[in-house]
């Protein structure tokens, strides 16, 4: 299969590209970020997905499947630009897929879409509306991109579209929202709360994406690994020290005194759980995570011990 991966220079996308190539697929990617030592057999096009040059890649390379990983989280890119990447980029990609006969699209989204609230169900199903916007307006463009991708299910009936809502990734490169939270020696918590966190090791993320692609799943799916564990367990399990702080003080200290930078609304994620029901995905693909919660935490602690992580490892 000819698979195009927009956002190919990201950590997970690179691993996916290698895995797909090794499984016999032809792989190419689009990303304005460089992948300097991209291995043989993987074409990387250094273009912006929103620009005409990206459409030329579709026209010339004729991908059969697209794995859209060119979205950014609320905390890595400032507001306006983030909206343009997530929304305009997603729209452009789906337009190119429709125009150039792509048969299958995977949109890689996030489980934070469901939002964290005191009265929401512990396990979120795919049929639930997005509540993230109430507490974290910074997630609006990601939620909108997710919903736009889902409209392809009826707008583009000839294309097999799957929207995958992945839980937090925790792996050895130490990238991603949860990994950033755990980067320092001391990790903040909201005093009086200890929410459950769902996580998936990056190799398992790659496996899940490959399965979704090869099984040609269609629809909206939550993708999770082992059962969720409390944040305090994650912090201690990775060799860090939990620091419970009143939420008002925490809001002031975010990004200061060695604490990670999070948006103000994100403190709700430190109060209430966002946990997903992944039954639908398991049934559709037979996916089974190889890393349990203990192995994920130990692997992270080994790869990023506190000293190394504290120096930006």
């Amino acid at each position: 299969m000819r698979v195009l991966i927009p956002g190919i220079s990201g950590g997970i996308a690179r691993r996916l590209a290698l895995r797909l190539r090794d499984s016999g697929h032809q792989v190419a990617g689009i990303d304005i970020r460089p992948w300097r030592d991209a291995p043989k057999g993987i074409e990387v096009h250094p273009v912006d997905v929103r620009k005409r040059a990206a459409e030329d890649v579709f026209r010339r390379w004729k991908p059969e499947a697209v794995v859209h990983m060119a979205t950014v989280t609320a905390f890595t890119v400032p507001g306006g630009e983030r909206g343009r990447i997530n929304l305009d980029g997603t729209k452009a990609l789906f337009d190119h897929c429709a125009t150039h006969g792509v048969k299958q699209v995977l949109f890689v989204g996030r489980h934070t879409f469901y939002g964290a609230a005191p009265d929401s169900p512990l396990y979120h199903s795919e049929d639930e509306p997005p509540r993230a916007l109430e507490a974290i307006p910074e997630l609006a463009d990601l939620v909108a991109a997710d919903l736009y991708a889902a409209t392809a299910l009826w707008r583009m009936p000839d294309v097999t579209t799957a929207v995958l809502r992945l839980v937090y990734t925790l792996g050895t490169p130490g990238t991603g929202t949860l990994a950033n939270l755990l980067r320092g020696k001391r990790v903040p918590m909201v005093l009086g709360y200890d929410p459950l966190f769902h996580m998936l090791q990056e190799e398992d993320v790659v496996t899940a994406l490959q399965l979704a692609l090869e099984k040609k799943v269609r629809g909206i799916f939550n993708v999770a690994g082992p059962p969720p564990v409390p944040l305090s367990v994650i912090i201690k399990g990775t060799g860090r020290t939990p620091v419970p702080l009143p939420s008002a003080l925490l809001s002031v200290l975010m990004g200061r005194a060695g604490f990670p930078r999070l948006s103000v609304g994100a403190t709700d994620h430190l109060r209430y759980p966002i946990v997903v029901d992944n039954k639908r995905f398991l049934e559709a693909t037979g996916f089974q995570a190889t890393y349990d919660e203990g192995r994920i935490l130990r692997a992270y602690a080994d790869a990023l011990p506190v000293d190394r992580a504290g120096h930006g490892g």
């Binding site: 005191p118 009265d119 200890d194 409390p230 209430y272 759980p273 203990g294």
Partner: protein, 290 residues
Amino acid sequence: MGDAGPPCKAHARCYGAPVPQSESLSERVERLQLPFNEYGVDPYGISKKHLKLALEFFAFLYRNYFRVRCTGVQHIPKTGRGMLVGNHSGGVAVDGMMVLTSTLLEMDPPRLAQGMLERFIHKFPVASLWASRTGQFTGLPEHAVRLLEDDRLLMIFPEGARGTAKLYTERYSLVDFGTGFIRLALQTRSPIIPFAFLGGGAAIPTVTNAYALGKLLGVPYVPLTPYLLPLPLPVGLEIHYGPPLVFEGTGDEEDHVIQGYVDQVKASIQRLIEDNRAERHLRRTRRLLP
């Protein structure tokens, strides 16, 4: 109904429980048949560590402060799904706490009753944490269905917040029941184990409920007692479980059918209250006589 069973000789205050009292509380938590992971946490976030600490406190209240008399635990399934459905008694959650403690202390093997809480609980720090870690979740249909399909034991008070608002003079009455629990039982094919909770009204003798103060604090109301604060008095409490009620259906029945089932459950609980209330009165009278 309300079979007392033989009194437990090993513990003078234990009624109808064949469970050896020599077993430590920690061992009882260890014996819970829940899928705890290596960190002692189950997929719902229930934590052995928190359960053990909570049980230390609850068991003290259960055995020494409220001297709870519990009968009919043999009606609760030892494994598999079930719904404990009973009356609210007392202005704060003493009834839920003691029911939860009764299944942990009196059943063999012990089981964890998981309550369906009012929505406001999880808004509060510490309360939210402890409720979550001991398996007490917001009363949402999604939670109830999932837990029952996972073969858990649910604890439901169908009177809701109106039930805890009962005044001292109304302590043995039942207010209107919701109907959702019956549809839930039918949909998940779960047996309903009715229970009567007696004594909560005397332990927390509510003379009035301060609704304005409650609104200020973010709760439905604050029960006020003759001594103002709703702190429970050391009054003997009773929990009486009745034989399971099993209804046939899909949960999509007409309202009048569902209401008929609700009335049967309500009548069963009322009967347990009345029968045991009479016995409770008799026992107290005997105790006062020379």
